[in-house]
């Protein structure tokens, strides 16, 4: 951004080259983005199945009649469209209908601000190879992913049964938790690129250090995953959580929730959720490429060719990088087991978020220190040291898990065999304790008084045993 900073934000900070296209170019770009996204989704489904198949040493979809399996997802989609639709009796019908529509509609939104390439010429009109770009482009993506929560949680709620509801609630809590981490991971990118517009973030990653190799000087792209490595790692982990990908696919944990929020959906409404999920996979990869891997810019050895970063060619680099990231997502799915829900929340709130905040502060401090050559430098460094010390001091202690202690008491370990705990200890009932105390106050008999005292001390089932035994 030339007029960077507050003035730029106030004036709109509109990235160059957007907002003055002819209407039919806008129409072409919107429809092209829509079709490209649908094709990428169809590709992603087969790609995932084939790669998972390779990981598990089996063929995966490979029917020759359907182009060696590459048309499998298209066939599946068409088949689903002609299937019977079952709306359960318990469902809330209007919400049940609107939930997949929200999911499907919002899923396309993010792709509008992903840059696919530089300026190109369509029928003599010069336009950017990107549907549109605005000063707050990344906020549009975050807004779209927030809206996606509505589709999921409404689907779970409207189904009217337990598993979908649980899946929907889980999905909502998980997605908002990981959105915090994801949003924070982008702050460092904005700080370095001085912009929130995607095309300017890509442009900012072009100016790297130049390397002198003997006679000629070459240009190395400074992709942000190198200088902002912690941000990239946090973005990637939180994007997995945000997109409900393994190992964070708890909203659909089929071993515990049948199918999660989409259990009760069938026919094309099911396909719509499926589509939204795979569009999310494509969007996560595309955004990762845009923010941290130079967007549509060619990787280093190819970037030596002068034509690599102009015209229609860069769309190849963009798609290649995106598909590589989709491959990494599938690889993660093939490798990692699903985490537990408390582990998921712990990672999001107790690890990713504080690490991210500290990283932002360290980065900001380093930038301030690099800019100021006088004493402020030492002041800022001292500030960072004090912050880290404060962190260490204020860091909450790990709470003792009471359940493990309880388990140790119960497990008597009979004969070394794994015996299930047979003496289930029910925690003392407070009402019973009060009853015992009342009984102790009015001395009816000397025997009952003694048993009440011992019962209160022992607690639990011994109490009932004591009160039962006092009758004899």
């Amino acid at each position: 951004m030339n007029t960077s900073g507050l003035a730029g934000l106030a004036a709109g900070g509109q990235p160059a080259g957007f907002g003055h296209d002819v209407w039919w170019i806008v129409l072409i770009k919107v429809v092209a983005a829509f079709v490209l996204l649908l094709l990428l989704t169809l590709f992603a489904v087969v790609f995932e199945r084939k790669v998972i198949g390779a990981f598990q040493v089996r063929p995966g979809p490979n029917r020759k009649a359907r182009g060696f399996g590459w048309l499998q997802s298209l066939a599946d989609g068409l088949k689903l469209a002609f299937k019977e639709e079952i709306i359960p009796t318990l469902a809330d019908k209007p919400v049940y209908f609107i939930a997949p529509v929200i999911s499907g509609a919002v899923a396309f939104l993010s792709f509008a601000v992903i840059p696919l390439g530089p300026e190109v010429s369509i029928f003599g009109h010069h336009t950017m190879l990107q549907v549109s770009d605005v000063p707050v482009a990344v906020l549009v993506i975050l807004a779209a992913s927030s809206m996606a929560v509505y589709g999921t949680v409404l689907a779970g709620w409207a189904s009217g049964t337990s598993w979908p509801l649980l899946g929907g609630m889980r999905a909502a809590a998980q997605m908002i938790s990981y959105e915090v981490a994801m949003g924070l991971s982008m702050v460092a990118v904005f700080m370095t690129a001085h912009s929130m517009s995607t095309s300017e973030i890509v442009a900012a990653q072009a100016h790297g250090a130049s390397l002198e190799l003997g006679v000629f000087t070459t240009h190395i792209p400074s992709w942000y995953f190198i200088p902002l490595l912690p941000s990239f790692v946090i973005y990637f982990i939180s994007a997995l959580g945000e997109g409900n990908r393994t190992p964070f696919d708890l909203p659909e944990g089929e071993s515990e929730l049948t199918g999660g929020y989409l259990t009760e959906y069938s026919s094309f409404k099911f396909a719509m959720f499926y589509l939204a999920e795979y569009i999310a996979m494509v969007t996560i990869s595309a955004l990762c490429v845009t923010l941290f891997f130079g967007g549509w810019r060619a990787p280093w050895p190819i970037s030596l060719w002068s034509g690599a970063n102009s015209g229609w060619v860069p769309i190849i680099w963009f798609l290649a990088k995106t598909i590589i990231f989709m491959g990494v997502l599938v690889w993660i799915r093939a490798t990692l087991p699903r985490v537990r829900y408390d582990q998921l929340m712990k990672l999001g709130w107790k690890v990713l978020m504080p690490v991210n905040l500290v990283w932002i502060l360290i980065l900001a401090g380093l930038r301030v220190a690099a800019r100021n050559n006088d004493q402020t430098k030492y002041l800022v460094l001292a500030g960072i040291v004090v912050t880290v010390l404060l962190l260490v001091l204020v860091w909450p202690e790990k709470q003792k898990d009471d359940r493990t202690q309880l388990k140790r008491e119960i497990d008597t370990g009979v004969g070394g065999y794994p015996v299930p705990p047979l003496d289930l200890v029910v925690p003392p009932n407070p009402r019973l304790k009060r009853l015992e105390a009342e009984r102790a106050e009015e001395p009816v008999g000397a025997g009952s008084k003694g048993s009440a005292g011992s019962g209160a001390a022992a607690g639990g089932p011994s109490e009932t045993a004591a009160s039962g035994g006092s009758e004899e």
Binding site: L90, V134, F190, G383
Partner: protein, 119 residues
């Protein structure tokens, strides 16, 4: 500031919405209709499915949503600060440091009180 660059974004949203609306409306009409009582019952939610919504729900979800609002607002404050960081200078850094430390105190408090635990 002009609204023009936002129009294509809205256009893609409308196109996606029309696609979703159209296909979700048309698909039930072209599919077969062979209903029976068992089909319309809840899937794998018990032999006698009980309608659970509108019942009690774990407070954790509510707490998480509240925490999300707090930290999302923090992020919203961080974004413009990050974009114009180099213009704000040391003053901007110290201001944001104070803000983050303030939020961090609340965060440590929530952590200690067990607000971030999911048992």
């Amino acid at each position: 500031m002009s609204i023009a660059p936002y129009v294509p974004i809205a256009g893609l949203l409308v196109l996606g919405a029309l696609f979703a609306l159209f296909s979700c409306t048309i698909a039930p009409l072209v599919g077969p209709k062979r209903f029976n009582k068992a089909k319309l019952e809840a899937y794998e939610c018990g032999i006698e499915p009980a309608p659970v919504p509108a019942g009690r729900f774990p407070i954790r979800f509510y707490l998480t949503a509240m925490l999300f609002i707090v930290f999302d607002i923090e992020i919203i404050f961080l974004y413009p600060w990050a974009v114009s960081f180099d213009m704000l200078g040391t003053f901007g850094f110290v201001e944001m440091l104070l803000f983050i430390v303030t939020v961090f105190i609340a965060y440590a408090y929530v952590w200690r009180r067990g607000g971030l635990d999911w048992d």
